[in-house]
Amino acid sequence: MRMIKKNSIFYVMMFPVIIYFALFAYYPLVKGLQTSFQDYKLMGERPYIGFDNYNQVLHDPSFWDALWNTLYIGGGILIFGFIAPLILALSLNEVMKSWFKKTAQLVLYVPHLLSWVVIGGIFIFLLSPDSGLVNLLLIKIFGIQPINFMAEETWARMIMIGSAVWKDMGYNCILFLAGIAGISPTLYEAARMDEATRWQQVHYVTLPQLMNTMKVILLLNTLGIFRIFDQIFVMRNPAIASKVDVLMVYTFQKGIMEIRIGPAAAASFFVVLFTLLLTSVVRKMTRFDEV
């Protein structure tokens, strides 16, 4: 008891945090689960209806579209968003002049700093058929008809993947570079003694030594797949919606726009389930726990 009294100041300090998390993290989780089994109306009775909401979601073709879009776009971002910054980091690492290296990092990081509204807006503008930079270049160089990138289903997903990879490339590259900086210089010295070429140094020293960093980044990015929202919310338009709407957008549409809260809550729990499933698969595949 005396211990508790002596430490009371600490409990006072911790109090707001506990209340906050209880109210804005744990309670919503429980409430979400409860709601997913209810015929939830904003007013009046909210009878429990068993798995009806889940059933509804599973029989909604646009849910399956959203799931497939999430896997397609999210998977693309996961793969290319991993490879591109890795190549970039290896390439930056070979640069000897430090001013050039610093400038490159400075410039490449900027898109990560900006919101998806800004980046999405710039992309929409650059790709617009009448006055966008890309089409103007294409017309000038190849003399082809302008392509309405943001309205064509074939391009839509690729643009989403491409812009996401482009935006976060600089950020992930810095994480890789930090990993490279942590590699012991003696390994490179030894490699040079053995007359290893630069490529051999990368192949036999840098890449194997970077394995742990790679696993962490891969796992973090996997968690991000089901969280894609801002980007699609900004860049979607009716012409391509069915090809790019991801699960988060689907939940938002169902819950907030159509006010069908029960099914939306059920869909959210599918997202939780998929996240858990995918994370454990990636953990297994990368043998993450052995790190």
Partner: protein, 290 residues
């Protein structure tokens, strides 16, 4: 190794260096050209900005885009809303997360284990997956259409608490003990000793929070539908993406849109030098302890 082979390798190295630099420059251009384009358009006149031309420098220089977006389209109010939410949210976030981090380094604190798992577990809850119930909670608390809902969204995070805890752990605990003997209260010890010694950590989460709050989109979209309470990002979004749909609004020429984008970028560019200095260092330091 004979000279000829060395020389050949030198040549190959140099070719590689040139190609490598070219690759990086090309990549940088994909970032520089669009932004140059945005800046040039923002400072061009409405007429010039609507012409289908590639411009990297302002044409027919004018700042009418800025005055239109700021005054006629009244971007001022969303801008101020964003400032209020970002500043107050960031201060509260740093203060409360640091306090919790400070509590969690105390040895022999009954219930500490529980508190740590309580904090850790919140990091497993996907924020977006509780989007709908969060909306309901805010509704029950009558927070919908208030800026408070935006300040409260993500006001404390497990990540920041753990990061600050790691920073505080690197301060020798004897300091806390001797300060206590000198009669300093715990809160004073926290502000005068710990917060000062963990400056890198504070700067890290502060910048992190500042940027993510300024860029926040899903929370205002979810909680706000009163047009006097919307934030800059939401205002900008409707200006950029709905402009084509509601082309009756002749005010929104390209230079106006680009001026809006630039205005929203300025605060971020203002903190960018600090991010360069603290951000990565902070993340690495914070992550490597434990």
């Amino acid at each position: 190794m004979d000279i000829e082979r060395l020389e050949r390798r030198g040549w190959r190295n140099r070719t590689f260096d040139v190609l490598n630099a070219a690759f990086l420059i090309l990549l940088m251009l994909t970032m520089i050209i669009p932004f140059a384009n945005v800046v040039a358009l923002a400072f061009s006149s409405g007429m010039a900005s609507m012409k289908p031309e590639i411009i990297l420098f302002p044409k027919d220089f004018s700042i009418e885009g800025f005055s239109t977006v700021w005054n006629s389209l009244d971007l001022r109010r969303p801008f101020m809303n964003s400032v209020i939410v970002t500043v107050s949210g960031t201060i509260l976030h740093v203060l409360l997360s640091s306090l919790a981090g400070f509590v969690l380094i105390q040895p022999h604190l009954p219930g500490k284990k529980f508190m740590i798992s309580f904090v850790l577990l919140t990091m497993m809850i996907p924020q977006d997956a509780i989007m709908i119930p969060l909306y309901l909670v805010n509704k029950d608390l009558h927070l919908i259409n208030t800026l408070s809902s935006l300040v409260l969204s993500g006001m404390i995070s497990g990540f920041s608490i753990l990061l600050m805890r790691n920073f505080f752990l690197s301060v020798p605990y004897e300091m806390c003990e001797s300060a206590q003997i000198d009669g300093l209260g715990m809160f004073r010890i926290f502000t005068t000793i710990y917060m000062r010694l963990a400056k890198t950590g504070v700067a890290t989460i502060m910048l992190f929070e500042f940027v993510s709050r300024w860029n926040m989109l899903s929370a205002p979209v979810l909680f706000i539908n009163d047009s006097s309470k919307i934030t800059l990002q939401v205002a900008l979004k409707s200006m950029i993406t709905d402009a084509s749909a509601t082309s009756s609004n002749l005010l929104i020429t390209t230079n106006v849109r680009m001026a809006g984008i630039l205005i929203s970028i300025i605060p971020l560019l203002a903190v960018y030098p600090f991010i360069q200095r603290y951000f990565m260092k902070g993340l690495m330091l914070g992550a490597n302890k434990e």
